[in-house]
Point group: C2
Chain length 317, copies 2
Amino acid sequence: MPLLAIDLGGTKLAFAVFSQKGDLLCEEKINLDKRKGAEVGRLISETVAANLATQKDKGEEIEAIGISVPGIYHKNEGTVWAPNIEGWENYHLLKEIGSVAGNIPVIIDSDRTCYILGEWWMGVAQNCSDAIFLAVGTGIGAGILTGGKILRGANDIAGAIGWMALERPFQHHYKDTGCFESRASGEGIPKMARKILSEKKEYDGLMKTKSLNTLTALDVFEAYEKEDAIAKEVLRHCIELWGMAVANLISLFNPEKIIFGGGVFGPAVKFIPDIKREALKWAQPVSMQHVAIETSALGTRAGLYGAACMARKNFKT
Amino acid sequence: MPLLAIDLGGTKLAFAVFSQKGDLLCEEKINLDKRKGAEVGRLISETVAANLATQKDKGEEIEAIGISVPGIYHKNEGTVWAPNIEGWENYHLLKEIGSVAGNIPVIIDSDRTCYILGEWWMGVAQNCSDAIFLAVGTGIGAGILTGGKILRGANDIAGAIGWMALERPFQHHYKDTGCFESRASGEGIPKMARKILSEKKEYDGLMKTKSLNTLTALDVFEAYEKEDAIAKEVLRHCIELWGMAVANLISLFNPEKIIFGGGVFGPAVKFIPDIKREALKWAQPVSMQHVAIETSALGTRAGLYGAACMARKNFKT
């Protein structure tokens, strides 16, 4: 029986139907269009109901529904904390979707957990018992598989690697999103560039024409391609931090694989050899020899694959 | 039936007999006296044989033998890598002790694994499913319990937190033991002090009288008590690094407890409130609220308790 996978993001909802074997049968995306709170819940409910009906019309029944959420899922309570969706501080998603799904099982988990599960099921982490998905997008998070199990932590908040302390002394602007994320994420990269731009009055390079407020990570990557000095400075700093973070994961977890994904990897994929060289300096040397550092095979679909993976019969995380 | 616990250190061998319930029935220590390679193996064999005989004389039979080793234990191969014991790069300990033990089970694991197991069994981590023992002695390592299981990694090397990258840019002297350990361990503390002492020619404080070569961590702690400026500088730096490392464990693992132990904690126990304050700045804030930061309840016996814990019937790590 097919699996329904739903991947809720901060700005859009993706959903797909998979076969048990992992074939992607159909896929669609809906913009959230500034929906918030219960409106987002209703959109998911409607999506689930519509998909159940469509499958029924085909004479099929959905086996189970897997949902990836952009934040934290509290398994015992069935609630979601999603910082980018207004009113989702403690949203009772399981109960809501459960009432639409009837006796079809609903399994929910955080996006970072879904990313690593997706790669484990159908991507580059197949046959791994110890692998980590390092998602670098607007924020930074890690989905961690150790000894064949998902690392959840005592309150389901494990993997908050955006908070990793990598540069002392503490600076006040680390306070909101953590040291690592404040510098080396999709939001951190233009923030670093803006800071340097505002200090270097004499700068007359490519990014000069950009308004400081609208400068994006992509602008910095594009300027880097054209050998812009500030873009180089910012991204070299990021390479160092990505390398240190990877090294810390290697030393602590001794994983078989670390998989880079998220919007920034993307354009930062070309830096992976540099990141490896940086990690090599810092990491426990035997663990370093045993790890492979790769990019996501599933790209923006990693969350959908992970959601489907969880929905399979007898699957335990 | 009683359990035999053996805790091999870099300079001594401790052993103890425990009841199944965790009562310490007897305990002894033997200096290694510069024994190396097979001599150390023989000492353990003899200790095991003698204890089995003693128990037999009492009409008791040892249920199983647990052994804590100062390094890495490769479970599948039954071999030990112990950097402080000459000739133990790949020592076949399980086979050797197995031949003395006959049909009595022998369970071996790394000291850091034994520390957290000891605290979980009889110390401050009882009833925890997610707890970390941060052992700061000559070196630095972490024993990590996640979701009720010991984190081993793909090659049994997980928990090598001494290699944690905390200060950029990379410095050459991090190469041997890792960034964190090169600064904030029992060897790192006097190394930092020596470096500052050799630079500050005008210094005329307490540590001036110490030969640079023989200066120990304890000397730095003693000088700190007497408000020595260099000792203060070194230990403040350590507090920052300990706080950052604790914060990183909190953000990544979302544990219920982090337990400081090892020779340095010890004298550094009084800094735990300062370390907490430092960690509070860096860590994921929700995980930070949920964690308790404590000191080992078992002190130098944590390894023995952990070795006994592993030896209990039906115990699985």
